[in-house]
Structures are given as C-alpha cells and as structure tokens.
C-alpha cells in the first residue's frame, strides 16, 4: 500500500439493476501495466471510466497517491490520459488543430513542430493538414493516439486501443506503451487482441467470473 500509486478498494459498479462487479481490489505501482480482461459486457469499459472519474461507483474508493480521486479532482486529472471508444477528435479540424487543442487543454506547452513530429511518427505524414473526417477509421485513431506521444500524463487509461489499427500501428503503439511503463508510468488497458506486452510488470485482471 505504501508504495503503490493507484489504489482501488472494494469497488462495486452497477449499470441500472445489473451489478457488473463488486469487491474489486487492486493497486498499481509505478511502471506497471494492468491488462483488464473479460467477456463483452463484463464491465471493462465501466471500470476504466470509473478509474477516470467519469462514472461514479456504487461502493468503494479509488485513491491516487493515497488520496481519493473525488477530492483530488483537477490534480488527479492532470495526471490522467484517457483514450476511449470515441476518438475525441473533431472531424472538421485537421490533425494539427485537433492535437493543438488537446495539448492546450492538457496544459502542456507544445509547439507546432512537436505536433508535426508526433503526427509523422504515428505514420500520418502528408495527412497533417487534412480535416480528419477525410481520413480512414484507422488514421483517425492514429490522430487520437498521437496524443500519447505528446502527453506528459502519468496514468494512461486505454480502452481497446488496438482496434482498427494495422500491424505497423499496433507495433508502434506497443512501443509507446512499453516506453511509458519503462519510464515509470502507469497504464491500464483492455484489449481482445493478442499482443505481446512484454515490458515491465504486467498485471492481469479478469472481470466477469
């Protein structure tokens, strides 16, 4: 308990009348990757949204460095990067504009060249200036994932980050996650795809049993 950064105790979540999970306990240290597994509808997304503070749990508590995330509020969100089912990018804005807005909201001082570099690294060279609605599903996802390159957040919460990506992008994303974890960051992710996430300590959590 003393060393762990993220502590979850006796967490219970409900959707309407259905109890998704209860009595969930786990804690994560720096440099840990948590892989959440479970059937469809077992509450993976709900758990991830709860970790972000978007969903209020029925019971239990989530603590970040010993303090409840409810009380930390903005101080917690500063450390957080959430990547959900929705890409969170505007179709009418270009990749550059989207990332510039995201960076400003995150409070990062990111200059334009850093954003260009990030988009090139994620494999969107030549598409930086196009409105993102003209891009394919996978490319839109890449724009959203470019935030991971720019982010300084300590905790990454990634919901199905590998879907719609080609093998190159999957490898790239794995590299990013591995580097983040090796750097002492925390990552919580769900995926149904078999990807070798080899770096650091990989914890697994099975829901819905």
């Amino acid at each position: 308990m003393a060393d762990s950064i993220l502590d979850v105790t006796r967490l219970e979540c409900r959707r309407g009348d259905r109890r998704l999970f209860s009595g969930l306990d786990f804690s994560l240290d720096a440099g840990t990757l948590l892989h959440v597994r479970g059937r469809n509808g077992s509450g993976k997304t709900t758990l991830l949204r709860t970790l972000c503070g978007l969903f209020t749990p029925e019971h239990g508590e989530i603590r970040w460095q010993g303090e409840s995330i409810r009380h930390l509020g903005e101080d917690y969100r500063r450390n957080l990067l959430y990547f959900g089912h929705l890409n969170g990018i505007k179709g009418d804005l270009t990749g550059i504009e989207n990332l510039a807005v995201a960076a400003t909201l995150d409070g990062d001082q990111v200059d334009r060249s850093a954003i260009w570099d990030a988009l090139q690294r994620i494999g969107l060279k030549g598409f930086e200036d196009l409105p993102t609605r003209m891009l394919s599903q996978g490319q839109k996802k890449r724009v959203a994932l470019a935030r991971l390159i720019l982010s300084t957040a300590k905790l990454w919460v990634l919901d199905e980050p590998f879907t719609a990506l080609d093998t190159d992008a999957v490898t790239l994303l794995q590299g990013l996650i591995a580097a983040h974890v090796a750097d002492g960051g925390l990552a919580v992710l769900t995926t149904h795809q078999e990807v070798p996430l080899t770096s650091g300590q990989v914890a697994r959590l099975d829901l819905g049993n």
């Binding site: 978007l54 903005e74 959430y82 929705l86 504009e97 807005v101 909201l105 995150d106």
Partner: protein
Amino acid sequence: MLRVFWCILIRDLTLALRRRTDVLTTLFFFVIVVSLFPLGVSTEHQVLRILGPGVVWVAALLASMLALERLFAADYDDGTLEQMLLTAQPLGLLVLAKIAAHWLLTGLPLVLIAPLVGMQYHLTETAIGVMMFSLLLGTPVLSLIGAIGAALTLGLRGGGILLSLLILPLYIPVLVYGAGAVEVSVIDLSDTRPYLTLLGAFLMVALIFAPVASAAALRISIE
C-alpha cells in the same frame, strides 16, 4: 486560464465557419418568423408598431432555442466533450467559452440584423436602437440559461422537445423586459432605463451561475 478560454472559443468558431449552414439556419429562421407576422396579421402601420417588439423578441427566443441542442451534442457524439471533462482545466471556464462562441454565432447576428426587421414593423429609429441594445443584453442571457438546459438534456431521446419545455419558461423574464423596453421607448426614452438595468442584472447573474450549473449538469449527463 485565458489561453484555454481562447483556445475553445476559437475552436468552436473555426468549426462553425467550416460548417456555415448551422449559423445561417438560425439567422434565416429568425428573419422568416419575423416576416410572417405582417403577412398573416395586418400591414397597418399602427398594428405593426404595437406588434413589433414582442414578435422580434419571441422570434429571437425561438431562434436561439433552435441552435441550443447542438451546443454540446456534437462534442458529446465524437467524444471531445468527454476529453474536456478529463482535463485539469475548470469545466465552467470551458463551458463559458463554448457559450460565448454560441452567442457570437447565433445571438450577435440577431442583434445586427435587428434594424432590418425593425423597419418591417415601421419602428422608429429610437425604438430600433433600444431594440438592438435590449437584444445585446438579452441574447447572451438566452445562451447562458439555454446551456444549462442543453447540458441537462444531453444524450436523452427526444431531448429537443424536453429542452424547449425546460428552458422556454425560464426565458419569460428576458422576454418581458426585453420587449417591454422597446415598447416604452415609444413613449419616453428615459422610461427604458429600469428595463435595461434589469436585463443587465439578469446577464450578470446568468454569467456567474450558468457556466457552473451547466458544468455540473454535464458531469451528470456524461455518466
């Protein structure tokens, strides 16, 4: 703080400029509704002059309702709203920036076009001046109060109708004092002062409470 406010404001304005139809619909709706009354009721100068202020204000109310639904819905659908909720920035500030953009795109055009519709109703120059000023004070209140409703009904089925039922009653004071100011200006310009002062007071109160209330409503809606 200010950087974030500008960032969202400019983002929303850019988005609207790339999708101009949304802005133009509101404006045309306003113009058409206002133009229908002389055609349907009477073209008598005397009747129109009495009708004018009320009709313009009711049309402004309805026009601002029209665009409200989309205030948060577009961001909700593509997940950018979710991301805004997860930033370390105060949500009230982001909401205020969105409301400001909304007003610049839907409220301000109504103020600017008011002289044109005022002429249709044979309003005097002073009356048109007062109407523009009352709209300038009143339409931001409409956007601010409307944002609370838009946040509360976000993601609900049939949210549009519910939004109207929820918000229109709250618009009544603005309508009464906005149209009232124009009406009394016909008699004596100095009589408009209490009306406009009250509208200004509404604006101040709404400016303080509406962003916070909308932010709280958004947090509930996004669950």
